[in-house]
């Protein structure tokens, strides 16, 4: 049964990928890419990667699609016929593919418990992390504690990417210090959509908070929560008009929040140095090791959540306010 689901999903993925290659309307290509991500998320669930599936569903088929559509709105939405023959490209791709397939011959069989990858650090994490770090979700323990350095660097990468987008596009508030005219609602004519989306909003925010604070025990964490919270704000912007969203979540405030997120993460590391431990060694933060780890992971995930949330919204702002009507 598992194999059947696996093969069905992979077949659908292949069909979607081929359609993306062939189709010339960029709008359709973006929507197909969104479907591709959703199928991938399903595939990740069948392969036990629930946290990854969560992220892929929220980021790949959510935020990524929104940003692509916003960029299409600013540019052209139709692709020109490619002028050169695709034969050379096909040859290069074919040869590379065959070489890579030859490489997979040495890989262990799919799902093999004896594969080398499962006999290095992974068993140690699985056996020791509930005793050393605490949270039942191993992914959270590794992400926030064992590999805290990597995650700090990745948070900074996201922060820097956000800064670059703002530097390239800028954000202009047309109604800064002035009231917004009452007729400027994005979906004035779509009553059902508007009301349903409005009712959905508080639940999206509540769910984001749940994902943020329950990430130690189940699937979830700062990255996912930040993206889900951001999609709630994007619903706000689609239903009530983007000018109102900019009033409710001012971009100056979000810039500050993104910085605060990175500072909370780095500050937790510095606090553990000041208390006599190593950088990002949370064990010294509280009376016992497990309490310290719990506090450290809570703070670090909060920092990640704040940064991801504000950077995603700022990117959305940068694209959707670029060309003024």
């Amino acid at each position: 049964m598992e194999l059947f689901i696996d093969i069905t999903l992979l077949t659908f993925l292949c069909i979607t990928a081929m359609a993306i290659t062939v189709i010339r309307k960029l709008f359709c290509a973006v929507m197909l890419a969104s479907i591709f991500s959703l199928l991938c998320a399903c595939l990740f669930v069948t392969m036990d990667a629930v946290d990854v599936a969560f992220t892929e569903a929220a980021v790949g088929s959510g935020i990524s699609t929104v940003l692509m559509l916003a960029a299409l709105n600013l540019t052209h939405s139709r692709e020109k016929r490619p002028p050169h023959q695709p034969l050379v490209a096909l040859l290069v791709v074919g040869v590379t593919g065959i070489v890579l397939m030859y490489g997979t011959m040495d890989l262990p069989v799919f799902g093999d418990a004896a594969a080398p990858i499962h006999h290095h650090v992974a068993p140690r994490y699985i056996e020791q992390s509930p005793l050393e770090v605490g949270p039942p979700n191993f992914v959270t323990s590794i992400l926030a504690s064992y590999r805290g350095y990597d995650t700090l660097a990745e948070t900074i990468v996201i922060f820097t990417a956000g800064l670059s987008v703002i530097a390239l596009l800028g954000i202009r508030d047309r109604y800064a210090g002035r009231p917004i005219p009452s007729d400027r609602s994005a979906m004035k004519d779509y009553v059902v959509l508007r009301i349903v989306a409005k009712m959905l909003m508080p639940f999206v925010f509540l769910f984001a908070l749940y994902v943020q604070f329950h990430g130690d025990y189940g699937a979830g964490g700062g990255f996912q929560a930040g993206v889900i919270f951001a999609s709630g704000v994007i619903i706000h912007s689609l239903t009530l008009g983007r000018d109102r969203t900019l009033k409710a979540f001012p971009h100056q405030f979000l810039r500050g929040l993104a910085t605060v997120g990175v500072l909370i993460y780095g500050g937790t590391g510095l606090a553990s140095i000041l208390r006599g431990g190593n950088f990002l060694d949370y064990s010294v933060l509280a009376a016992t090791q497990l309490k310290g780890q719990h506090l450290g992971i809570f703070l670090v995930e909060l920092g990640v959540g704040l940064t991801v949330f504000s950077i995603m919204i700022l990117m959305y702002y940068a694209f959707s306010y670029r060309r003024e009507p």
């Binding site: 292949c14 990928a17 595939l43 692509m68 418990a113 979700n137 992914v139």
Partner: protein, 117 residues
């Protein structure tokens, strides 16, 4: 040779090559970016496939289960996805600026404009 045993890897490579093909054969910059995303998502599939163990469950500790899939690739890919969308956004911002400057997002039009300067 176990066909089902390597099926996941081969499909991941096929998808990777589809993305690669889109990147090198299409002149439209947004299409190239979509191809790049396709490529990176296939790498994610390959990584997660390597972490799967038959009969195991999701890596969340519970007394009822003994065998868990490998959580290390999950951590790597989780952060890679979010970093991926951040870098895609930078790419889209650059494409938007290129469009504003050149009036086109087709590679050939941009090259012609560049050469006529």
């Amino acid at each position: 040779m176990n066909l089902a045993g390597h099926y996941n890897y081969w499909v991941a490579i096929f998808l990777m090559m589809t993305g690669f093909y889109v990147v090198i054969s299409r002149g439209n910059l947004i299409k190239k970016l979509i191809g790049l995303n396709l490529f990176s998502t296939s790498v994610f599939i390959l990584y997660i496939s390597l972490g799967k163990i038959h009969g195991a469950t999701a890596p969340i500790a519970d007394d009822r289960f003994q065998l868990y899939s490998n959580p290390v690739p999950h951590v790597l890919i989780l952060t890679a996805i979010v970093v991926g969308v951040a870098t895609t956004a930078v790419g889209l911002a650059l494409i938007t600026r290129i469009y504003e400057q050149y009036g086109s997002i087709e590679e050939d039009d941009i090259r012609i404009k560049d050469e006529s300067l």
